[in-house]
């Protein structure tokens, strides 16, 4: 039996700060409300809902997941509310950090002593977006084999379940570099290198160019593989059909999409729609 004063929100790790800030605002307006937040990689979030997890709000780092994994059985409408980009984050102690720029970043990453991480493409959209960025970089910089070299160097423990954890490990010095959303980098106050627009998946004007690169991912059903084309990075939010408190969920969703929500998103480094 659901508690009418409980709001369960499952969200992409990258959306941690804006979701927390909006939750605080809602809590101020409704002091008795119990808001339960949980985060993981967006593909993992969507799979949990498919496997029976009941939440009132679902906020993901890729709108495509609503169609691919959740619609129309679990979600029939979702709101695309913000845009972001992939950057290469590092800190003041990262090896080669003093000389890295948009023309040499891949050479620095491939140095023997340098470590860099990405998130798991099967669990987290930042992971498959990073693989797309590497493919686009190979073409953009005219460096045949670059994707394979980067992929070879970033294996095992350097592949994280969700991108949010990459930033915290750069912060504590476990990683020199990580491929990360700009909004997460801003939330951690880390340094970052802006990648060229043609490869950082930020701009709808380059959507056709991004689409040239694809990655293979585990699909909806066990053993099934699907192919995902590159696309501009967007975030989306929905109230699942089986939400226990849809009225409360709508209050939260309206807040996220309001002018106040836009300001929170912008303060967190996202580009609100």
């Amino acid at each position: 039996m659901s508690n009418p004063q409980t709001l369960k929100i499952l969200h992409a790790g990258a959306l941690r700060k804006p979701v927390v800030e909006c939750a605080k605002l809602l809590h101020e307006a409704r002091p008795g409300l119990d808001i339960q937040l949980e985060s993981c990689g967006s593909r993992a979030c969507a799979r949990q809902v498919r496997e029976g997890k009941v939440v009132d709000v679902l906020a993901l780092a890729d709108p495509m997941l609503f169609d691919e994994l959740l619609g129309p059985e679990y979600v029939d409408k979702y709101y695309i509310f913000a845009n972001d980009q992939i950057v290469l984050t590092y800190d003041e102690f990262s090896k080669g950090g003093g000389e890295i720029d948009a023309k040499n970043w891949f050479d620095i990453l491939l140095r023997e002593e340098v470590t860099f991480g990405r998130s798991n493409q099967h669990l987290d959209p930042c992971g498959y977006r990073t693989l797309i960025v590497w493919q686009l970089a190979e073409q953009y910089y005219g460096r045949p084999g670059l994707f394979g070299q980067l992929d070879q160097r970033c294996r095992g423990d350097l592949i994280y379940p969700k991108s949010y954890d990459l930033a915290s490990d750069v912060l504590v010095g476990k990683l020199d570099y990580a491929f990360e959303y700009l909004c997460v980098v801003n939330q951690f106050g880390l340094r970052y290198l802006t990648l060229p627009e043609k490869i950082n998946l930020s701009n709808p004007a380059h959507a056709d160019y991004y689409r040239q690169s694809t990655v293979s991912l585990q699909g909806k059903n066990s053993g099934e593989m699907i192919t995902i084309p590159g696309a501009p990075i967007e975030f989306a939010i929905a109230i699942p059909k089986n939400a226990e408190n849809p009225a409360l969920a709508k209050e939260f969703l309206d807040l996220m999409l309001s002018k106040k929500g836009q300001q929170i998103l912008e303060d967190c480094g996202l580009i609100p729609y």
């Binding site: 409408k77 979702y78 845009n83 709808p204």
Partner: protein, 128 residues
């Protein structure tokens, strides 16, 4: 009908006049005068058109759209009628149509001045 000078007293119009050379706001107003659109599509249209002197990255376009909404030139609302993906859609307000007319006046004045410049150059420098 107000003169260009009178229009410029309006803060929204003064903002446009200060940036007319960049052509971004006139371009957004022009596309929205044709039909309502969302930011994603506007970014693509602005870039394809080549009218704007500024590269239409998402941050620039959405900040301009928000400012235009605060100034009453556009009205936004979430598309909620259908199932599937919803985006914030923008449409031109009556003030937005006036702002587009104002842009056209400013651009026309500039074109006339540039035309005179070109003619004088042709006559007094090139053919001398």
């Amino acid at each position: 009908m107000k003169t260009v000078k009178e229009e410029a007293q309006n803060p929204a119009f003064a903002y446009i006049a200060g940036r007319i050379d960049k052509m971004l706001v006139p371009t957004l107003l022009y596309f929205l005068a044709n039909k309502p659109a969302h930011g994603y599509g506007l970014i693509q249209m602005v870039n394809e058109s080549g009218f704007s002197e500024i590269e239409a990255d998402p941050a620039t376009i959405y900040r301009n759209l928000r400012r235009m909404e605060e100034d009453g030139l556009v009205i936004s609302q979430w598309e909620t009628e259908n199932t599937g993906p919803a985006r914030r859609a923008y449409q031109l307000s009556p003030e937005g149509h006036q702002a587009l007319d104002y842009c056209v006046q400013l651009i026309t004045d500039k074109v006339i001045k540039m035309q005179v410049f070109l003619e004088q150059y042709q006559r007094e420098v090139k053919e001398k």
